[in-house]
Amino acid sequence: MNKNMRHFAIVAVLVLIGAVIMNKLLISVLPLPTPSSAQAESVDSLFRLHMALISLFFSLIVVFVVYAIVIFRARKGDESDGEYIHGNTTLEIVWTVIPLAIVIYLGFLGTKALGEVTQAQPNEKVIQVTGFQWDWRFEYPEEGITSTTLVLPKGQPIRLEMQSEDVIHSFFIPEFRVKQDLVPGHVTTLRITPTRTGGFVLRCAELCGLSHAYMLADVQVLEPAEYDAWVAEQTSQTELPPAELGAKIAETQGCQGCHSLDGSPSAGPTWKGLFGREETLADGSTVVVDEDYLRESILDPHAKIVEGFQPIMPTDYGEKLSDEEITAIIEFIKTLE
Amino acid sequence: MGNTKSGIYRIGIVVLVALAALTGIEYIVAVTFNSAAVLFLIALAKAALVLQYFMHVYRLWSEEEH
């Protein structure tokens, strides 16, 4: 018994030293990106507590095991048995109850932090987020702006109302910590209060098909004054010439998710030099790309499939776009020599 | 009613009548006050009858003759 006590004393010291080292190690190999939202603070403090607990318990088990390996290893040729110890009910109860108390406390802290992260704020600004294969669109209902960049004023509580047009996507900006799926048929919400200005990248975090890896959007957090200037600039834009309007529509509709502008291969035919080109169709016939063909390909994309491509383009652009908008896109394609 | 053949037949008829009656009650409940909880309870009662008298669930934990 005395010998065991000495072992336990040594082990206890080693466990504490091990826990400190492990915690240092974990924090250095798990570098969280710079927290940039009010929500990130709640998440990060809980994260650090978890790291401390992981370090402590990891050290506890590993030190005991390694110590036992060193001290209790059988000498060469020693075929005898170890001590006949069956178990110890008191110990079992102790190491059931203590972890139980810890996890209940963790659950309590988690609930509290969840409340902070999802807490509704006064004067929230609503932004509507739409995800589709494989791009993002942001609408600002108050200002009447549609944008492909998510621009946010620093310090302003934001409520994102998010919808998907096709499959499940997920809204994730690592620096903001929070994440939320966009589900077809649902409107999901996410709250963010940006606390640091700068550029970030929004990344889709739910596998959504071919170009999932590239379903990104730029995010800009601006000082409130700069943000107001951006809003003014966006809303002052009137009456663009058709080709420029077409470029803007193509961007917000995510056409370039499948149709490149520089001739590089993608899921659909490139738009570079498309107008006037002769295309071979899947059935072997050929067609010269003119305005009628382009209009048909937008309204009824599966009518004529160019050889080497799949009939995967959505068929609902006729409902989404007006005639003028389709004409504008065609004008835009014409400019891409 | 015991273990005789006719006795078991008779139990079968009684269970059948009970099940039919419960089904009738289900229907009446549904068209009058339509309570999902009551309907579920009736279904449970019917299931218990079937389990006990038709499926002989007790044979699982009784050492019995054949």
Partner: protein, 627 residues
């Protein structure tokens, strides 16, 4: 002997013919109904289904039951097929649980290596950012295939250990239903072939989770994937029925539940989950299958809106996730409970000391299995499900830590004060403890909703999951393979090669899992073919290099093990009946185990792990000479 008379080959041919017949049937029926005769998708669905069934008939899995249907009785066949070489029994329907156990294990190892190969392929692609050689489509196919093929391989590995060991450890003659046991194995062959052949018809790009709506719109490969999983699920279910009946009813005299070897407890808990939860993954995939084939809109929101909505839409993708995770979370306990039980089984043998707190360890398996049913929605914290479900599922998830902790503390209690020996199986057990520890400890951080938000669907999850799988299944499975190898073959494996395997694989795995967690925290998402090299201040690239190299090191270690096993079966030194001085019943009979394992009925007269108690015995064979 002609190759074509081998039942497995007959099965393969029948599967191909059955597929063609099913396609023809569909085409004829469509023509008769006045529809356009050829439509690829329904033709493939019916063809794949018929092909799988045809395999089972042709291999002979239903032979005896067909006889019973016409009123004939069939005696249980024993031994190798009478007019063929002995090795052919491994390619035939054989009713001996030891043969079936080996069939499971070998087919499982094959699938694990196939799944690993997919991983190496896309790991190499991820070595650098940008696309190198795979292409987006193939990349997405490979991540799904890696996932499901590995899962199939793990299920087969679990089945292999359980089928070989449970009857032997109980001192039972065989499994309760030998014919069902054989059928359970053979389901896996056409099932796995369906999954692998999905690549030929366009593959499927939604990952192994197959979430709709994405899975409801992609290529035909999805249908083969769903059907393949269905076959493997059937195998799980009939296997679980068999194991549960065996454990409950086939124990010899004196073998009370609390005297069973601890491995049997692990299998018991696992079988309870397999029996019940497996139905739900089958159902969820079946629902997507009919949504694609017949337009049944379970998960398609369609034109939902007030009024006529529910006739025209109203489906919900989140329902799929509930049904799917109801199986797929407990599934990880199916994988790890037998593995953790192997740890509990081997530690006493190599520590020469009783298992510390036997009852607590046994019941902790049951507790994990039961709590495991109440935690599925922690995969859905950010899915858009009812937000009110988050907190209860968070608490339930955190509770899993308690019985898992009991296991760890009991393992430490077992080795404390023992006389430890370190042959290869013991090394793998200790490796398993260290790896499962980091896997388990990174669980609560994912189970707590706020910290789950940044980590969900990131590489941190990948790191956590692989640590639990390697610590809970792969390391213990390898330990089991090395440990019972002399019992199965009668010869010892090469100890040096075994140790090289361990010292190669363990540090490599540690580097891999920590590397995955590191890049995950930097913002690396799961399941992406390309990543931003600027993440983590440019350090992410280095992380991926480490992960990839570690992956290849693990693969090399596994190849070394396979070589060791094949070579040692020829030249290994003869092992004798009990090289580890174990008390368990299977070690009290000759190696390799004879056709009828126990020459005489077994009686249990003591506790399983009374190492260090002089003069105690666990089992006694009536014919062994003692009264």
């Amino acid at each position: 002997m002609s190759l074509f008379s081998l039942p497995a080959v007959k099965g393969l041919i029948a599967q191909i013919l059955g597929t063609i017949a099913g396609m023809a049937l569909t085409t004829v029926i469509r023509a008769l109904m006045g529809l356009p005769a050829w439509k690829a998708e329904p033709a493939w669905v019916v063809g794949a289904l018929l092909g799988g069934v045809a395999f089972l008939f042709a291999v002979g899995a239903f032979d005896d039951w067909l006889q019973w249907m016409v009123g004939k009785e069939t005696p249980l066949r024993h031994g190798p097929p009478p007019d063929r070489p002995a090795w052919t029994r491994y390619f035939s329907v054989d009713y001996n649980h030891k043969v079936i156990g080996i069939q499971y294990t070998v087919w499982g190892l094959f699938l694990l290596m196939a799944g690993g190969t997919f991983a190496l392929a896309f790991r190499t692609e991820l070595l650098r950012s940008g696309m190198q050689f795979l292409g987006l489509e193939l990349f997405n196919n490979f991540i799904g295939l890696h996932g499901i093929v590995m899962i199939g391989g793990i299920l087969l590995g679990v089945g292999g250990m359980a089928n070989y060991l449970v009857p032997l450890m109980l001192g039972a003659e065989d499994m309760a239903f030998p014919r069902l046991n054989a059928l359970g194995f053979w389901f896996n062959v056409p099932g796995a072939l369906l999954i692998l052949s999905s690549l030929l018809v366009g593959g499927w790009d939604a990952g192994w989770t197959g979430y709709p709506p994405l899975s409801a719109r992609g290529p035909i490969g999805y249908q083969l994937f769903f059907l393949g999983v269905y076959f493997i699920g059937l195998s799980s279910i009939v296997g679980a029925v068999n194991l549960l009946v065996t454990i409950l009813h086939m124990r010899p005299k004196g073998m009370s539940l609390f005297r069973m070897p601890i491995f049997v407890w692990g299998v018991f808990a696992t079988s309870l989950i397999q029996l019940t939860a497996t139905q739900l993954i089958g159902l969820s995939f079946l629902m997507v299958l009919v949504e694609r084939t017949l337009g049944m809109g379970f998960f398609d929101p369609g034109l939902a809106g007030p009024g006529k909505a529910l006739l025209e839409g109203g489906g919900d993708p989140i329902l799929f996730q509930h049904l799917f995770w109801f199986y797929s979370h407990p599934a990880v306990y199916i994988f790890i409970l037998p593995g953790l039980a192997v740890i509990g089984e081997l530690l006493p043998v190599f520590a020469r000391k009783p298992l510390f707190g036997y009852k607590w360890v046994a019941l902790s398996s049951l507790a994990i299995a039961l709590v495991g049913f109440l935690v599925w929605a922690h995969h859905m914290f950010v899915s858009g499900m009812n937000p009110g479900l988050r907190v209860p599922f968070m608490f339930a998830t955190l509770l899993v830590a308690v019985p898992t902790g009991v296991k760890f503390f009991s393992w430490v209690g077992t080795i404390w004060g023992g006389k430890l020996h370190f042959p290869t199986p013991m090394l793998f057990v200790l490796g398993a403890i260290s790896v499962f520890l980091i896997g388990g400890l990174t669980g609560p951080i994912l189970g707590t909703v706020p910290t789950n938000m940044p980590l969900h669907d990131s590489y941190f999850v990948v790191g956590h999951f692989h640590a639990t799988m390697f610590g809970g299944f792969v390391f213990p499975f390898f330990a089991a393979l090395y440990f019972w190898y002399p019992k199965v073959t009668g010869r010892m494996y090469n100890e040096t090669l075994g140790k090289i395997h361990f010292w190669l694989m363990t540090p490599a795995f540690w580097a891999q899992t920590l590397g995955q967690m590191t890049v995950g925290v930097m913002g690396m998402r799961r399941r992406i073919a390309d990543y931003d090299p600027a993440l983590g201040n440019g350090m992410i690239q280095a992380g991926h290099v480490v992960i990839t190299i570690a992956g290849f090191a693990i693969a090399f270690g596994v190849l070394l093990m396979i070589y060791n096993f094949i070579r040692s079966a020829e030249v290994g030194k003869v092992a004798g009946s009990n090289p580890w001085r174990s008390r368990s019943p299977e070690w009290q009979i000759p190696s390799p185990v004879p056709e009828h394992s126990f020459a005489a009925p077994v009686t249990v007269v003591g506790e399983p792990y009374d190492y260090g108690l002089a003069g105690s015995t666990y089992v006694r064979m009536a014919a062994a000479g003692d009264d």
